[in-house]
């Protein structure tokens, strides 16, 4: 017995036990566990612990709101709605109102002076460095009024709105370049532009009959995110979707046009057999400007407008009425779909460059060389009815949405991507049913040089019978699929208000929203002391009001009727999620303040009487009592001794 328990034997037994445990744990354990537990890619613990999604969500989604006028924000994979970022449309719920002088300035047309509080956000495009999201900003366009906004991701607020000149609106495709130096905005709706542009283009345009013209606006983005109108290129056609290339397609602007017929009615827009994919050499645009081959307009005397004839541009035929236009992660394949067909085309940009070099052209249209489609295409795929947009994952697959088929089809890419998936390219390998009518799709990073994969979200245009009936106007929805396996699994969905077009999904680690706002600099803190000043010449009352739980200071403000009130509202809060508001009885004034935020508002006190101002956020247990009075003294009854006098500090 003693011999059996020799130190060597005991050591060997212990070593064997340890090895067995490790082996079982690392190799056999997961196998056994996997066999016992059905795969569930979307495990949620029960009961759900507090902060579960705060700690486990992997991506922020910034979804365009369409006619909502801003962005929706939610988390993935929780599909939990987080917030809205109002941009082009006033939204008092989220504190975006024109009473705020800074917001009003952003929403005011610089050429007409008109306040515009309607909008239609379409294509968000996140800032990138080397073609990869960097988490600084999301830019987005307003189709209706030709505006671009920059949303700052440290505050989740709009920081700038840029108005695009020389167009009445109707813009569509918008894209930020791989290093966030340049963005492009396509003019979808054809224009009858200023005479300077018409003359420069040399086209015969009738103001009633057309055919009209359109352009692409280049927007310069400074290092601090400030946008400015850099240039415009105009030509005979309109321009729909837009992408700025990277990798293989670096230095090229790629656009589509679905109305190469130059028609002015819907039927006319379907008359040709094919439409065009455009390739613009960005350097050639800059060269034309450097060589002074441009005009400017009265509206925008500092924005050069270049003719398509003065730049290097090529087209190639693509299936009729294209909609999707997306670039694969290496920048090599341009996938585009013919909405009025069943076809999806993959254009190999390497072949495009070769065709340009070797002049493989099949003709000219308005002087633009038409590249031979057989020379530039990698594949022409017949995939289904109503193809729309395309996204890419990290494993070499493209995902194509189909409006009519109401599904997403997964297709392996060719070329170097075959090393990733090892499958025959350009053949459907999976079909993801959606409910219903896919518009855009989003895969985190799916429009960049580095897709994160893992999930795809189908942004559907119709929900029909998906949710409880809620009247004739149905909500939209976003359906979440996991795509790490085949078949993909639809694991969740959320109803989301009208009407998302495109979205951007950024890793949580990239986005660092601040708890507090820190508007103004430290020096301005000295002006935070409440004050009231009466200007009898300008008929203005200027008030600096402190707003902190649960008091407005001054708590009473006397104003002669008809005077203008200019108020600087300063939230003194520093705690997370303690917001305040300032709503004024009977006046069209409601503003909201994030913690530490400063708001400047302005209105005319034209209604006499006692008007209470009160907080609109349930900020503390004394929220209801958080109110003050604005006493508007009728004209003729005011005497200077009625002025509000604050007790000295």
């Amino acid at each position: 017995m003693k011999a059996l328990l020799s130190p060597k034997l005991v050591a060997a037994l212990l070593l064997g036990l340890l090895s067995g445990t490790v082996l079982f744990g690392l190799v056999l354990g997961p196998v056994v566990q996997g066999a016992a537990t059905p795969p569930n890619p979307y495990e949620r613990p029960y009961p759900m612990p507090h902060q579960f999604w705060a700690q486990n969500d992997e991506f922020y989604v910034f979804a365009s709101g369409g006619q909502q006028g801003g962005l929706y924000v939610y988390g993935v994979p929780s599909m939990k709605y987080l917030s809205e970022i109002p941009i082009f449309v006033e939204d008092q719920a989220w504190g975006w109102v024109a009473e705020d002088t800074e917001i009003r300035e952003m929403l005011t047309n610089p050429w007409t002076g008109k306040l515009i509080t309607r909008g239609d956000t379409h294509h968000p495009s996140a800032s990138k460095t080397n073609g990869v999201y960097d988490g600084r900003w999301v830019f987005i366009n307003d189709k209706q009024h030709a505006r671009i906004a920059r949303v700052d991701l440290d505050t989740f607020r709009t920081g700038q709105i840029l108005w695009i000149p020389n167009t009445t609106g109707g813009v569509h495709g918008f894209n930020v370049g791989p290093d966030t130096k340049l963005a492009v905005q396509n003019f979808e709706h054809e224009q009858y532009p200023e005479e300077a542009i018409r003359n420069h283009l040399g086209l015969d345009i009738d103001p009633i009959q057309g055919p009209y013209v359109a352009g692409v606006a280049g927007i310069k983005i400074a290092d601090d995110g400030t946008m400015s109108n850099a240039w415009q290129v105009w030509g005979p056609w309109h321009f729909d979707m837009a992408r700025i290339g990277w990798g293989t397609s670096d230095g090229w602007l790629i656009t589509t046009a679905y109305n190469t017929e130059r028609a002015t009615d819907p039927i006319g827009m379907f008359q040709r057999d094919q439409d065009y994919l455009f390739f613009w050499n960005i350097a050639s645009i800059e060269k034309a400007i450097a060589e002074k081959r441009y005009v400017t307009t009265q509206q925008a005397p500092d924005v050069p407008v270049v003719s398509w004839k003065d730049v290097e541009v090529y087209v190639t035929p693509i299936p009729l009425n294209p909609h999707g236009l997306d670039i694969s992660p290496t920048g090599s394949y341009i996938l585009t779909s013919g909405k009025a067909t069943t076809l999806v085309v993959a254009v190999d940009f390497g072949k495009v460059l070769q065709a340009i070099q070797q002049q493989k052209v099949i003709g000219e249209d308005y002087g633009v060389k038409v590249l031979d489609p057989d020379a530039v295409r990698a594949a022409t795929m017949d995939l289904g009815m109503g193809p729309t947009h395309i996204e890419f994952d990290d494993k070499g697959y493209a995902y194509v949405g189909f409006f009519v088929d109401s599904d997403i089809k997964k297709v392996p890419l060719g070329g170097s991507y075959q090393k990733l998936h090892g499958q025959t390219p350009w053949k459907v390998v999976d079909v993801l049913p959606t409910h219903y009518a896919v518009g855009h799709l989003v895969i985190p990073g799916g429009d960049t040089a580095m897709p994160y994969g893992k999930y795809i979200i189908s942004m559907n245009k119709l929900t029909k019978d998906t949710f409880l009936n809620h009247g004739p106007l149905k909500t939209e929805n976003h359906e979440l699929f996991t795509i790490g396996q085949t078949p993909a699994l639809m694991v969740d969905q959320m109803a989301l208000g009208p009407e998302t077009h495109y979205s951007q999904a950024l890793p949580v680690s990239l986005v660092k929203p601040r708890v507090l706002h820190s508007y103004g600099d430290a020096a301005s803190l000295t002006s935070r002391q409440p004050s009231v000043a009466y200007d009898y010449d300008a008929k203005e009352v200027r008030v600096t009001m402190s707003v902190v739980r649960s008091f407005f200071t001054p708590g009473v403000l006397t104003v002669p009727q008809g005077w203008t009130v200019k108020a600087r509202l300063i939230s003194g809060e520093t705690a997370m999620d303690i917001s305040h508001g300032f709503a004024l009885d009977a006046y069209n004034v409601t503003v909201s303040m994030d913690p530490g935020e400063v708001r400047d508002i302005e209105f005319v006190a034209d209604k006499a009487g006692v008007h209470w101002y009160y907080c609109i956020w349930f900020c503390s247990e004394l929220h209801m009592e958080m109110r003050g009075r604005m006493v508007v003294v009728p004209q003729g009854e005011w005497t200077p001794d009625m002025e509000t006098v604050l007790p000295s500090a």
């Binding site: 705690a575 503390s620 004394l622």
Partner: protein, 205 residues
């Protein structure tokens, strides 16, 4: 250097270092502040922490932080600590005043504790008569311990400054003990006892 001098010098260093750290800390944990506890640090010279936020909450029940402490405290207390430091240095240099140096820190701490607890009594008993929420009766936060007001808890405890002060005091006590030639407590290393009995430390008295 002989042990007594070393102990006194070390005590001076610890006492001096204590001035750089908070002596006492209060933390408030409330359901509406899940992100972090509100803190109040009392230093020898001053107080720091989430004062404004603490007072936004305190205003509702009629209290203000810090507890009512005369400005003179923030002058007298650090001055007293400096005196103790000087005294420890004198002990190290002269080997005199050992007992005084060991006793004075206790006296100072007793005064401060008493004063502090009285301030906390005033803090919880002189509530603002115009406070909006009057459902809390008067209360006395313990200088060391937990105060519970509904679901709001405040934790009060001595902080690093007090620890350093305590170590310095302890060193002065050990020094005095050694100087007195008293038998060492049970558990003291046997060799030391032997040394003591053999009078190896006799010259240091």
């Amino acid at each position: 250097m002989e042990k007594g001098r070393l102990l006194s010098l070390a005590a001076a260093v610890f006492l001096l270092a204590s001035l750089a750290f908070p002596y006492w800390t209060a933390k408030m944990n409330a359901p509406t502040y899940p992100e972090q506890d509100l803190v109040l640090h009392m230093y020898a010279f001053t107080y720091q922490g989430d004062i404004e936020e603490w007072n936004l909450v305190g205003r509702l029940v009629g209290v203000r932080v810090p507890p009512p402490i005369p400005d003179a405290f923030f002058l007298l207390f650090p001055a007293s600590v400096v005196v103790l430091v000087l005294l420890a240095l004198v002990v190290a240099a002269t080997r005199r005043l050992n007992i005084l140096a060991a006793v004075l820190p206790w006296a100072l701490m007793a005064v401060v504790l008493g004063w502090g607890q009285y301030s906390l009594y005033l803090f919880g008993h002189n509530l603002d008569p115009e406070r909006p929420l009057r459902y809390f009766d008067t209360f006395t936060p313990p200088i060391v311990g937990v105060l519970t007001l509904g679901k709001i808890k405040t934790y009060h405890y001595p902080d690093v400054g007090t620890l350093l002060f305590g170590i310095g005091t302890g060193l002065l006590v050990v020094n005095a003990w050694l100087q007195m030639g008293a038998p060492l407590p049970r558990g003291w290393p046997r060799k030391r006892n032997k040394d003591l009995l053999e009078g190896r430390y006799a010259s240091s008295g």
